[in-house]
Symmetry: C2
Subunit: 198 residues, 2 copies
């Protein structure tokens, strides 16, 4: 029944398994989408990075749009802050956010999402979905319940996404010059203000 190797390590490599190729394509796609956005990324380019022919990309993912869709899968792994002292929450969010952006240089997922969401409706919709399912609940857990909780969550998101925008996309020199510690120190009071004002 099964055709894949039993030991999973593929001792001598006669040919690549389709799963490995699919993963290679996806990794190449993420990298290209992250650096060039949706429009300037070409299937031929992705295929070249993955060391195969462009038609293989079509076979495995159906179309460029479906490949893009597959590249957008993201779990932010936001921390649960229900048991964190309120005055520590902003710094924790900032630290987690920077870690997610700078921790693993091979993980371009957030860059793909943000860069694409600005010009691509499909990616923007995905972003709204991630906000509603992951960000808003996580921020709400740090707030006294109230009717303006979603608004505060949105403004905290604006602050963090604005940070990513100026630092990783626009690369404003002063934003690049800051260390994560300095950002935490200067920016945490601003998050606190949004979370606690009134």
């Amino acid at each position: 029944m099964k055709t894949e190797a039993v030991d999973g390590t593929a001792g001598d490599r006669p040919r690549r398994t389709s799963e490995a190729t699919k993963a290679a394509i996806l990794a190449a796609a993420r990298s290209r989408f992250a650096e060039q956005g949706y429009e300037r990324t070409t299937i031929r380019g992705v295929a070249a990075d993955a060391g195969i022919d462009a038609s293989m990309v079509m076979r495995y993912f159906g179309s460029k749009e479906q490949l893009f869709e597959a590249a957008l899968a993201i779990d932010l792994h936001l921390p649960d802050v229900r048991d964190v002292p309120p005055d520590r929450v902003p710094a924790l969010f900032i630290r987690h956010f920077l870690d997610r952006w700078e921790g693993d240089p091979t993980d371009d997922a957030l860059l793909v999402l943000l860069r694409s969401a600005v010009t691509n409706d499909q990616a923007a919709a995905r972003m709204r979905d991630i906000f509603a399912r992951q960000v808003a609940p996580a921020v709400a857990a740090a707030l006294p319940p109230g009717p303006d909780a979603p608004a505060r969550a949105a403004l905290v998101s604006a602050q963090l996404l604005g940070l990513a925008l100026t630092r990783y996309l626009l690369r404003l020199p002063p934003a690049l010059a800051l260390t994560p510690e300095q950002i935490e120190e200067l920016y945490a009071p601003a998050l606190t203000a949004v979370l606690t004002s009134r």
Copy 2:
């Protein structure tokens, strides 16, 4: 020497003056770049909006890239806050920023710039230039001089651009639901925090 009409108003209009055509092209280009970004905007599309042939766009602007460059010219008209009481500055910045984005629906300049700057290096460079020449000095005028003034200016920019990002680009529902007054109320303390912390 001069071939243009003396009275400048072109009383009866035999044909369009080149200046009018250039302006029509530029307006069409701004609108398309704002809505679709650089890559998906086509010269043929811009020309159609302006009611002329694509080759005219080339004649007047040389290339798509130069047309784009021309569409990026922006003056933020930031207020001078040197004589404004410090506790009023954040609300003033927010108000001015929202006015600039929502005041004139035919003025897409900021949308062009932000949407393009995320995927286009040329636009990102322009953004850095605008930050350095217009934003940083304006914010610095609201601060006691110090070595971290540029960093604070960058973080203020991050907050305002993040607001534009979530509200006008990503269109997060809670960010869209807020009135300018509510934004001012909820967000001004956050700007204050960045400007005055420590």
